[in-house]
């Protein structure tokens, strides 16, 4: 789960990690008032969206007067900000963060990531701040320093020193910078943050480290025990259909195609999307109805898929296992009747009582086709939607 920069900076501050002072604003007037409460004479106005590259897209403005702050905020609030991470449609800006300008001597890079190979949180630092780190990693791998945490989650001060000396800081600056890193890791462990990027990390003229930007990503599996983090989610940042699916408890990701899919199990759901593509059609979504796949879940799944105007047909793929296929089939028929489904639907089921399930589906009088294998199911739905595709 991602949060906004202004929320991340507030969290950093709580943990004693230095960030520039600032306020969040929803209107140009609020932005001006915010700047008036900061010393100046330089302020930065920053669009609050969940995407990087805001500066290049015109979402960040350095201002030298209150009038400039007001003008910049007026321009940024309400704009559709397009960056390399938003896609061509961009993201609507509702809020700006107005902060005190920082006297920057140097820009560094700092990140905490979950290293899946090392099975540990890992801190990465580089003297090349303000750049795309993947690019630095490719061109100058020797300019990225790493520390893998002890037991996966504990940092020793020597590790922080090693990173900061690596970035070329003086002994005095390193001494003052170590707590920056150790406190940041405290935050990660206490709040189940599994990814933090501070880019740039500024070294000020006075020799202190300060976080000029902050992106924090939290482990969704831990949100139950971190309700204060869960409360920071911004529903406006999500696809409306994905938001609706989440509210219904359905595991759904929207794609660009026109064949809806409903599958039990995430791996099989991905494989089903791939099979649709191989059959020459385009999948409209990922939808994992879960191992249970009961009537209620099937009905919710249909509801979500039908809310996507691009969907021209649906492929249902259920590997029953310990589920009884006839019960799932009855659920599909019942849900389809309730929702008055008239799209072509291809169903492939495997498991206990599958013959009975096929009979129920074939005899129900709805626009259902049954398939006996995944390949056949994908070919059938591709054929049945070919004419109707958008």
């Amino acid at each position: 789960m991602n949060i906004h920069e202004y929320q991340a900076k507030k969290l950093l501050k709580e943990y004693g990690v230095p960030t520039p002072d600032g306020f969040v604003a929803a209107t140009a007037a609020e932005a001006r008032a915010a700047a008036r409460n900061l010393p100046g004479p330089v302020w930065v106005v920053k669009a609050q969206i969940h995407a990087g590259g805001r500066g290049k897209g015109g979402g960040v403005k350095v201002c030298k007067s209150l009038d400039e702050v007001e003008r910049a905020a007026g321009k940024i609030i309400g704009m559709r900000l397009v960056t390399h991470q938003t896609g061509p449609e961009g993201k609507h800006v509702n809020l700006v963060w107005v902060e005190q300008g920082t006297d920057i001597a140097r820009e560094l890079y700092l990140a905490v990531v979950l290293d899946r190979g090392a099975e540990a949180l890992t801190v990465m630092a580089s003297p090349d701040g303000g750049m795309d780190i993947e690019e630095v990693a490719e061109k100058h791998p020797e300019r990225i320093f790493r520390a893998t945490l002890d037991g996966g989650h504990h940092i020793w001060p020597f590790q922080a020193r090693k990173l900061l000396f690596g970035c070329g800081l003086s002994p005095e600056q390193v001494g003052r910078g170590v707590p920056f890193i150790t406190r940041l890791l405290e935050l990660c462990v206490a709040k189940d943050a599994t990814q933090v990027e501070i880019n740039p990390l500024a070294l000020t003229g006075a020799g202190d480290l300060i976080a000029l930007d902050a992106k924090i990503n939290f482990d969704e599996s831990a949100l139950k025990r971190r309700p204060e983090i869960a409360a920071l989610a911004d529903p406006g940042e999500e696809d409306p259909l994905e938001r609706k699916a989440a509210a219904l408890g359905v595991n759904y990701v929207r794609l660009q195609g026109y064949v809806g899919t409903m599958v039990n199990g995430a791996g099989l759901a991905m494989a089903t999307m791939d099979a649709i593509k191989q059959a020459g059609a385009e999948p409209a979504n990922f939808l994992d109805a879960g191992g249970g796949a009961n009537v209620e879940m099937v009905r919710k799944g249909f509801e979500i898929m039908l809310s996507d105007p691009n969907v021209r047909g649906i492929l249902i793929n259920i590997f029953g296992g310990i589920l009884r296929c006839d019960i799932v089939a009855e659920g599909v028929v019942q849900a389809a009747r309730e929702l008055k489904l008239d799209l072509p639907i291809v169903i492939r089921m495997e498991g206990t009582n599958v013959e009975e399930a096929r009979r129920i589906l074939n005899d129900c009088g709805l626009n259902f086709t049954t398939a006996t294998s995944m390949g056949e199911a994908a070919r059938l739905i591709a054929e049945q939607t070919r004419e109707a595709r958008p």
């Binding site: 979950l114 969704e220 990701v253 039990n264 991905m270 494989a271 590997f319």
Partner: protein
């Protein structure tokens, strides 16, 4: 033979009195798995599924001589249960639960690794050596004893592949669901090593998916070691968009890392027979092994 579990494996069910533990425990016993006891704090001294229940794992393993634990407890306390099993002397822990906080797994793995305890899962169907021992939630009837080793990051996708193998007349030595989480226990590489040393296993199937680089590491190992047995691979998620979690917490393309096509290329380069169409998986393996 087989790997990890067989007819001699003695199993403790952690959470034996809970809904999942009861339901799947019963099916495991039905299959012939030697379940020798269970753990539910506060319910020690009772019997469940015909075996004694203990308050602590330490008592359970000491009293029964168990060597393996299967965890059916809620996500919030799963990592704790895994460490408790390791502390009590389990050599293998099978962790079925989904949605365990990843930093809990980071700590638990560090604890288990320090004690040389093997872990399967979390977020997985479990492990089965057909005809001998089933630990987990797999439907028993799709499996058949035989000589194919199978390793998979998924649940129902595994069932699909196993079902196809069995239907094509290919039984399995051991099938392991390694789970869909970012920090899993045993991975492709370690399990490939175990299958190499298992005389009963003639070929290995690996079902991977987007996210992480465990398939790539396995590919490096297969190439560098001149792996002596045929390996078949499948990768799910070729149509998944980057930056989106596809159901499994570990199934996410981050930046340019974890893409399906890269995994397929790495496996193919290592001499693995990559099967792109899941519907033809069992058939393709059968055809290749006949030659």
């Amino acid at each position: 033979m087989s790997i990890l579990v067989d007819e001699n494996t003695r199993v403790i069910i952690h959470g034996i009195t809970g809904r999942e533990g009861t339901f799947h425990g019963e099916k495991m016993i039905e299959y012939g798995t030697r379940v020798v006891g269970g753990v539910t704090p506060g319910k020690g001294g009772r019997k469940a599924l015909g075996v004694p229940v203990f308050n602590t794992a330490a008592e359970a393993y000491a009293a029964t001589g168990a060597d393996t634990g299967v965890i059916f407890v809620p996500a919030a306390v799963s990592a704790d249960a895994a460490c408790e099993a390791a502390d009590a002397g389990a050599g293998l822990v099978v962790l079925i639960t989904e949605h365990i906080p990843v930093l809990d797994m980071v700590r638990a793995k560090s604890y288990l690794n320090a004690r040389g305890v093997k872990l399967v899962g979390p977020n997985c169907p479990g492990v089965i050596s057909p005809g001998k021992c089933k630990i987990g939630i797999q439907p028993a009837y799709i499996h058949k004893p035989g000589s194919i080793g199978l390793i998979s990051r998924s649940g129902t996708l595994t069932y699909e592949a196993v079902h196809q193998l069995s239907s094509a007349g290919l039984g399995q030595s051991t099938c392991i669901g390694i789970g869909g989480d970012p920090v899993p226990g045993l991975k492709f590489l370690e399990l490939l090593q175990m299958f190499r040393d298992d005389p009963e296993t003639e070929a290995v199937c690996m079902l991977g998916e987007i996210g992480g680089d465990n398939e790539e590491k396995a590919a490096d190992y297969i190439r560098e070691s001149g792996y002596p047995k045929p390996v078949f691979g499948f990768i799910a998620g070729l149509t998944a968009p980057p930056g989106k979690r596809m159901g499994h917490a570990g199934a996410i393309i981050s930046g340019s890392k974890g893409r399906g096509e890269d995994k397929i290329a790495a496996l193919a380069d290592a001499g693995v027979t990559v099967i792109r169409e899941l519907g033809r998986f069992g058939q393709t393996v059968a055809e290749r092994l006949k030659k």
